[in-house]
C-alpha cells in the first residue's frame, strides 16, 4: 500500500480526469412562470405587487418570478396561521397530526428526484448532493418528528408539553428544503402552525413543497409560505401574532433578530455562523483525514455553517497532509450542478461570490499563500475554484471570518493544548473535527473543543435524531433529536 502511494507521489494525478458529462434531466421539474404567496392553502398575489426572478446560479437563467411579501402579506399569513391554530390544528388528536407528517415524509420520498433537480437548479449545488443528502435527510426529518407528535408526554414527563402557537421561521439558501424540514417538522409535531420565509435566492423548492402539502391534505393555514427578502423576515420577527421565532442564517442577522425580539417574551432559537476547526493529529489515518478535510470544506461549495474552514495540522505531518490535500483537490470536478459527476457546483448568488472574492483578496493581501488547482470554470454563471491558504496567521480575516465558500485556511500546531487553544479562539462554536487513532485523545479533544457538534474521524454528518446547534455566537437551541422539540413547546416548570 505504501509503495503504491509513493509511486503516486512521483507522478501527480492529472489535474482533471476527463469525464463524459452525465447530465440529470431537468424535464422532471415543471415550474410556473410566476408564484404568489402560499397562505391558507391558496396561492395569492402579494399586496406589495412586487415580484423578482429566482435565478439559476449555474447560468444565470431566470427560473420563475417569485413574490416579495410586504407587511400586509406577512400580517395576513400570521393571522391565517393563528386561525388555523385555534380552529382545529391544536385540538387535533396528536396521532392524527403524526399521520399528516408521515404523509409528508412519504410524498417527499416519492417525489425526491423532482425536488433534487429543482434544488440543484435553483441553488447551484451538485445533483449528487441534492439527491443523496438533502432529499433523503429532509424526508427522514419529517418521518422522525412524525413519530414524536403523539409521544410528547414521554419526551417531557411531568411537564405537560403543549404547543406555543404560531412559529415564524426564516431559513437560509444553502440547504433550502432541508432547512425547511428542520423547521417545519418539529413545529408541526409539537402542534404549532407555521409561517415560513425561504431565502430570496432559493425559494423554489419551498414553493414546490406547497404541492406536497396539497397532496398530504394538510389542513389549510397550518403551513404558510411567504417568499421575499429581509424586509419580509423582519416583519415576521416583529409581528405580535408570532409566538416563536426560529432562524437559521448569519450571525449578523441573528443578532439583529435578538434585538427585535428583546423585551417581547417571544421564544427564540438561532442557528448562526461558524468557523469550525478541523484538527489533524500526526497519528491520524491521513488518507481518510484528507477525505474529511475535502468533505469538510468543499461540500456544498463551502456554503455550510459548520464547514471545517480552519484546518489545524500537527507540524510533523504538515508537508504530507498538504501534498495529499493538493493532489486530492486536483481531482475535484467543478461544474454543472446537474451533472452527476460534479463534486463542486455553482456559487449560490452573485453577492456571495463577491463576498468570497473579497475575503480571498484580503487573505492574499495579509500575506497568506494561495493555492487553487487548475480547473476550467464555465463561462456563464457564478463559480469559485476550490481554494486553500497556507501561511495563515490566526489574526487574518480568512482565519477569523466566515467565508461561506470553498476556501480553506491551514494553520499548524505542536501539542494538543495548542490545538485546543487555537481551535477555541473564535467567537463562534458550531462544530469541530478531530482526527486521531488514539481513543483517549478523541474523547479529551471532544470534551475540550467548545462547539455544539464534534465530528471525530468523520465530518459533516447529519441525522434527524442528532441534535445540531452552536455555542457562543453560533446561536442557541438545538435542531434535531429529542432536544429539537423543546423549543416548540410550552411546559409547566
Amino acid at each position: 500500500m505504501a509503495e503504491v502511494e509513493k509511486r503516486q507521489d512521483r507522478s501527480p494525478v492529472p489535474s482533471a480526469f476527463e469525464y463524459a458529462s452525465a447530465p440529470e434531466s431537468r424535464d422532471i421539474v415543471r415550474l410556473e412562470e410566476r408564484y404568489g404567496l402560499f397562505v391558507g392553502g391558496e396561492w395569492m398575489a402579494p399586496s406589495s405587487g412586487e415580484h423578482a426572478p429566482s435565478v439559476a446560479p449555474r447560468d444565470e437563467e431566470p427560473l420563475a418570478e417569485v413574490a416579495y411579501a410586504g407587511p400586509e402579506d406577512v400580517d395576513l399569513a400570521v393571522g391565517t396561521a393563528r386561525d388555523a391554530f385555534a380552529d382545529g390544528w391544536s385540538d387535533l388528536p396528536s396521532s392524527e397530526r403524526a399521520k399528516y407528517l408521515f404523509r409528508i415524509a412519504r410524498v417527499l420520498q416519492e417525489r425526491s428526484r423532482e425536488f433534487a433537480v429543482l434544488e440543484s437548479l435553483d441553488g447551484g449545488k451538485p445533483i449528487r448532493e441534492s439527491r443523496d443528502v438533502d432529499l433523503p435527510l429532509a424526508a427522514a426529518h419529517f418521518f422522525y418528528y412524525a413519530g414524536w407528535a403523539d409521544k410528547l408526554e414521554y419526551a417531557f414527563p411531568n411537564r405537560r408539553p403543549r404547543p406555543i402557537g404560531v412559529a415564524g421561521q426564516i431559513i437560509p439558501w444553502n440547504f433550502p428544503l432541508l432547512m425547511l424540514s428542520w423547521k417545519i417538522a418539529p413545529a408541526l409535531a409539537a402542534g404549532n402552525t407555521v409561517v415560513l420565509k425561504p431565502a430570496e435566492s432559493t425559494p423554489l423548492t419551498a414553493l414546490l413543497f406547497c404541492d406536497v402539502l396539497r397532496q398530504a391534505e394538510l389542513p389549510a393555514g397550518v403551513v404558510n409560505i411567504v417568499t421575499g427578502d429581509g424586509r419580509a423576515g423582519a416583519e415576521l420577527v416583529k409581528h405580535p401574532g408570532v409566538d416563536k421565532i426560529a432562524f437559521t442564517g448569519s450571525t449578523e442577522v441573528g443578532k439583529e433578530i435578538m434585538r427585535l425580539v428583546a423585551g417581547t417574551g417571544k421564544k427564540l432559537t438561532l442557528e448562526l455562523g461558524g468557523k469550525a476547526a478541523n484538527v489533524i493529529f500526526d497519528d491520524a489515518p491521513l488518507d481518510q483525514a484528507v477525505e474529511g478535510i475535502i468533505n469538510g470544506i468543499y461540500f456544498n461549495q463551502g456554503h455550510v455553517c459548520c464547514a471545517g474552514s480552519r484546518l489545524f495540522v500537527q507540524e510533523s505531518v504538515y508537508e504530507e497532509v498538504l501534498a495529499k490535500l493538493k493532489r486530492r483537490m486536483g481531482t475535484l470536478r467543478v461544474g454543472d450542478p446537474l451533472d452527476k459527476n460534479t463534486d463542486v457546483g455553482a456559487i449560490n448568488s452573485r453577492e456571495q461570490l463577491e463576498r468570497i472574492k473579497e475575503l480571498v483578496a484580503s487573505g492574499e493581501e495579509e500575506g497568506a499563500e494561495i493555492y487553487q488547482p487548475p480547473c476550467r470554470l464555465p463561462e456563464k454563471g457564478w463559480w469559485f475554484p476550490p481554494t486553500v491558504f497556507t501561511n495563515v496567521a490566526q489574526s487574518y480575516r480568512i482565519a477569523q471570518e466566515e467565508i461561506f465558500g470553498p476556501v480553506l485556511s491551514v494553520l499548524t500546531f505542536r501539542t494538543p493544548d495548542e490545538a485546543v487553544e487555537k481551535a477555541n479562539n473564535t467567537p463562534y462554536g458550531l462544530s469541530a473535527g478531530v482526527w486521531t487513532e488514539k481513543g483517549s485523545r478523541i474523547l479529551s479533544m471532544a470534551q475540550r473543543l467548545r462547539a455544539g457538534v464534534i465530528w471525530a474521524n468523520t465530518y459533516n454528518r447529519f441525522d434527524p435524531t442528532s441534535p445540531f446547534g452552536g455555542y457562543q455566537e453560533s446561536g442557541f437551541g438545538r435542531e434535531g433529536g429529542l432536544h429539537g422539540l423543546g423549543p416548540y413547546l410550552e411546559f409547566d416548570e
Partner: protein, 264 residues
C-alpha cells in the same frame, strides 16, 4: 456597661477575596455602608470568573455536587445570622434546602439531559450537556437570600461560573452568602458578588462580550434594553425562575453532540 459589638464591613466578593469597590464608593443600606460597585468592578468580576471557569467546569460532577452540599452545611451553621438579616427563618431554611436539592443534581444532569442518538449509519453518536461559561445574574430584590440562591445554584451546578448583582435594597444576605461560599470549597472566582445600583451595573453585565448568559429574574429596569445589549454576543437569556427546577439549570447548559464512526 454592656459590650460594644464589633461590626462587619460589607464588601464585594471577587475572585475569592473581599475587596472594597475600586471606586471607593459606598451606599448606606440596611444600616450598613455597603460597597457601591462600579463598572470596573463588574469587569474585574468577569475576568475572575473566566479564570475560574476551566477548573470548575472540568471538576467531576460528583465533586461539584459535594462542594455544593458543603455550601448547604456551612449555611446551616450560620442560620441565626441569616435569619437576622432576612427576618425570615423559613426563607433561610428554604435557601439551605435549595442548595441540597441542586447539589444532588450535579451528577444526574447528563443522564437526564443527554442522549444516545440512533443515527441512520455506522456511527456512535451521543449528546451531553456542558456549561455555557459565565452567567451574569441580576438577583431578585426579594427575598434577598432565597431569591439569590434560587438563581445561583442552578447556574453553577452544571459547571458554569457566575457574576451576581445582589439585591440592591437588601444586599447584606448576599455578602454573607459570599462568606459562606468562601469557606465551602467553592473555588475563588466561581461566584462573584457585586453590590450597588442595578441601573448602573446591569447594562455592563448585559453588554459584556465575555459573559455567555444572562439571568434577568431580578432585573428591575428596562429589561428590553438589557436583552438588546445581550444580543451583541448572542447571550443565552433566562427571564424568570421561581422555585426549583431542572430546567432552570438546563437554561445555562449547552448540548454537545459527538460523532464517531463504527468499524473494525
Amino acid at each position: 456597661m454592656s459590650r460594644l459589638p464589633v461590626r462587619k464591613t460589607y464588601k464585594l466578593y471577587l475572585g475569592g477575596a473581599f475587596p472594597r469597590s475600586e471606586s471607593g464608593r459606598t451606599y448606606e443600606v440596611e444600616g450598613a455602608n455597603v460597597a457601591l460597585g462600579s463598572r470596573k468592578d463588574v469587569r474585574d468580576a468577569v475576568r475572575a470568573a473566566r479564570g475560574a471557569f476551566p477548573k470548575w467546569a472540568s471538576m467531576t460532577a460528583y465533586n461539584r455536587g459535594q462542594v455544593l452540599y458543603r455550601v448547604a452545611e456551612m449555611m446551616e451553621g450560620r442560620k441565626a445570622e441569616f435569619a437576622e438579616l432576612t427576618g425570615d427563618e423559613a426563607e433561610v431554611d428554604a435557601a439551605v434546602d435549595r442548595w441540597v436539592w441542586y447539589a444532588g443534581w450535579a451528577d444526574k444532569l447528563a443522564q437526564v439531559l443527554g442522549s444516545s442518538n440512533p443515527v441512520a449509519g455506522p456511527y456512535f453518536n451521543f449528546t451531553v450537556p456542558e456549561p455555557t461559561g459565565i452567567v451574569g445574574i441580576v438577583a431578585p430584590e426579594e427575598p434577598p437570600l432565597a431569591g439569590l440562591v434560587s438563581r445561583l445554584a442552578p447556574a453553577v451546578v452544571g459547571g458554569n461560573v457566575a457574576v451576581v448583582l445582589a439585591s440592591e435594597h437588601r444586599p447584606l444576605a448576599a455578602i454573607t452568602l459570599a462568606e459562606v461560599l468562601a469557606t465551602s470549597d467553592v473555588p475563588g472566582g466561581v461566584v462573584n458578588v457585586i453590590t450597588g445600583r442595578k441601573r448602573e451595573l446591569s447594562p455592563v453585565l448585559a453588554g459584556h462580550m465575555d459573559v455567555n448568559a444572562l439571568d434577568l429574574a431580578g432585573a428591575t429596569d428596562d429589561v428590553a434594553e438589557l436583552e438588546r445589549l445581550a444580543a451583541d454576543n448572542v447571550k443565552r437569556i433566562a427571564r424568570n425562575g421561581d422555585g426549583q427546577s431542572l430546567w432552570h439549570a438546563a437554561a445555562f447548559l449547552e448540548l454537545k453532540t459527538v460523532w464517531h464512526p463504527i468499524g473494525v
